[in-house]
Symmetry: C2
Subunit: 419 residues, 2 copies
């Protein structure tokens, strides 16, 4: 373990000398403090200190700092942006995800010399691969349980997000089942409130799902949002198993890393990982986390599906960022254990985004969810599902959407409603 090292890449902006700033970050995040203390010997530094592996200046300019800081301003404010790679010996922390987080994303974002810092990526040595659950289902397990092959899972979200009773939810689910939906998820705001208790919702919804499976031989996958305290999640998981459910959902920023690690340990179902709150972690381009770095924590902890937003989404995220996130889900984390997960597209998705999405990711190993895009189809949810299926059929066959729509009325109507 002595030789193994962890690496992290950052985007850095500083009004100070970039090399001095890089050394300060490395010191702060390993042996150092602000002043030299007794005991910080050369041998200790060799054994325990973080190293600046690479510092590549990408821009020098005169302008405004990305983030306010009390660092003194020279007369002519010169700022440097750089890509910085640090490495740490695994021996100071061991293969522990919570302690990794404190190391690569701890007290470094607020350093005075830093007017911008974003964690771009991390690379973990092999001992991490064996230390955590990882995705138990991933793409293959999800496809097997959902009975969908050769195309994306077409999914939707129960809307209104909150306010439906358990029976209201089941009524909508029954319609979606009839429409041939592959995947349905609870909204992240719906977990176990008095207005729609989890147990009642599971009973009512699974009655419809199991009925559909009995009738058609295909069981739509429903991701029940079991986010809550640990004992609640365990109890809800066991209920899902008993009722024949095939997926559970958890809000990552709500359960946190230890909550997710524990959930993954006992879960016998695919974990649909919702990233709500992602905006506060990522919205500023020079602060916080890139999805590629952040999602590796959850992938190794045990997520099977990761939300990545969608093209032309209703949020502020640009398409390039969405595509980069989706692709990162499919990049292996370790040679021995890829920990690849299924990206989930959502947010204002409809037929319009299908050709671009397929062109960008070049795979069908996706879950594509549309809330309004299915439920607000003028022909009803059934036509909404058909339209999305038809849009993917067209994309997979390489037929322009408008041409395909001429013989597929649900798609035609969806295109008309979008235009």
């Amino acid at each position: 373990m002595q030789q193994h090292r962890i690496e992290a890449d950052y985007l850095l902006e500083t009004p100070d000398d970039p090399e001095r700033t890089a050394a300060t970050i490395a010191g702060e995040q390993s042996s150092g403090t602000f002043v030299r203390v007794p005991g910080e010997t050369p041998e200790l530094l060799e054994r325990a200190a973080a190293r600046v592996v690479k510092l590549e200046v990408i821009d020098r300019f005169t302008g405004q700092r990305a983030l306010p800081t009390a660092h003194p301003t020279p007369d002519n404010e010169r700022l440097t942006r750089a890509r910085l790679t640090l490495s740490w010996p695994l021996a100071t922390m061991g293969p522990s995800l919570p302690n990794l987080m404190a190391t690569v994303a701890g007290n470094l974002f607020e350093l005075k010399q830093v007017s911008g810092l974003r964690l771009l990526d991390i690379r973990l040595p092999e001992p991490f691969a064996a230390a955590y659950t990882g995705p138990k289902f991933g793409v293959e397990g999800t496809r097997r349980l959902a009975g969908v092959h050769g195309r994306p899972l077409i999914g939707t979200i129960i809307k209104p997000s909150v306010g439906f009773s358990a029976e209201d939810t089941a009524t909508l689910v029954a319609r979606l089942c009839e429409a041939g939906i592959d995947f349905i998820k609870d909204d992240e705001l719906q977990a176990d409130g008095p207005n729609c208790p989890f147990d009642d919702r599971v009973a009512a919804v699974m009655r419809e799902i199991n009925r559909c499976a009995d009738r058609t031989g295909k069981k739509p996958m429903y991701a029940f949002n079991l986010t809550g305290d640990l004992d609640e999640m365990k109890r809800r998981h066991d209920l899902l198993l008993k009722q024949g459910a095939t997926c559970l959902m958890a809000s990552l920023n709500s359960v946190g890393l230890v909550g997710m690690i524990e959930l993954a340990k006992f879960s016998q179902l695919p974990i649909h990982a919702h990233r709500n709150g992602w905006g506060y972690l990522s919205r500023h381009p020079l602060l916080g986390w890139s999805f590629a770095a952040w999602s590796k924590f959850w992938r190794l902890a045990g997520a099977d599906h990761m939300h990545v937003n969608g093209l032309a989404n209703k949020f502020s995220e640009p398409d390039e960022s969405v595509i980069e996130s989706a692709r990162s889900c499919m990049e292996p984390m370790f040679a021995t254990r890829p920990c690849t997960v299924m990206p989930v597209f959502s947010s204002g998705q409809g037929v319009a985004q299908v050709p671009g999405t397929y062109a960008a990711v070049n795979t069908t190993d996706l879950i594509v969810t549309a809330g309004g895009g299915i439920l607000a189809h003028p022909g009803g949810p059934g036509a909404g599902v058909s339209a999305l299926r038809e849009a993917w059929d067209a994309a997979l066959q390489g037929v322009p959407q408008a041409d395909y729509a001429r013989t597929h009325p649900a798609l035609q109507t969806a295109l008309g409603a979008t235009a």
Copy 2:
């Protein structure tokens, strides 16, 4: 429970109409989606929708958006900043901290109409007070275990942060004990790595701490960083109890909310809550979290001590923000259950900050930690502790520090070293 409501205050910036933006946020975070869907009836909205309680415009100006967004730009970019208060019925989620987080801090930061959004504060209805552990020790329990009354706990952090063996750590602890230290903490980078295993460190350190307690009748409080997976934290906690330790430490962003809730359930020791990573949650003034809002989650979950940075700190945080955070720790959360916690001052702290800190918070119910400020004192750690104690004695007696230093050489030396 039907009548109880949750409230959250935000600082909002928008290039769009502020009332429309407020309504969009309320809709997105309750019943709504981007388009009207069947089932979103007036009755459902009355029962389940979030309400805009208050929208107070504080600035209208022409300028640059705080955060980039794809929202269309009018020719003359007019931006509005406003304070927004939303409320939600408790009945849609119940008194669940994880689901509260998905509601007040979920998918709202990334809305296209939002060019800045920061959660300023939250107010929770009484059912939350009974649902979680809250601080089991707080100020009183901490003072009782540390044997310190009428003044702040003077503390330090083991430095170098990583690299010491268990015995190296104990050697330093022995010197700090001799110097009369009240409180010592592990660095957040030091948990259970192969270079300094937790069990070895506890055994070596508690040997010195217990020896000191036997000799002097006062047991310095040592916050052992047990951050890790849940079973590891449980095992480490039990070891701490067995060895007579009086405090444990956990990194909040590493364990996450469910990890903290579980830890607090079984912990029989005060929980020293480290906020490393706070920079990525808070560094931009128009994004993320204020400490007052964020800390309420952890206070109710069970933290006893919360880090608040320090005056004239080595990070980028301004003094006003530090003071506001410290004061928020002492504001009651519920009429029946204050959940007040002990603020922990740190980061480049020394004798210089003492008068300002006392003037700002007007209480001695604090933990004041100095790493370099104690360990790098020219007279050694013992003189470092004495200097800080003397600085607080002077502040409490209302004597100017320079005057007091004339008869207190350790303080005199510290002032000289600072100047």
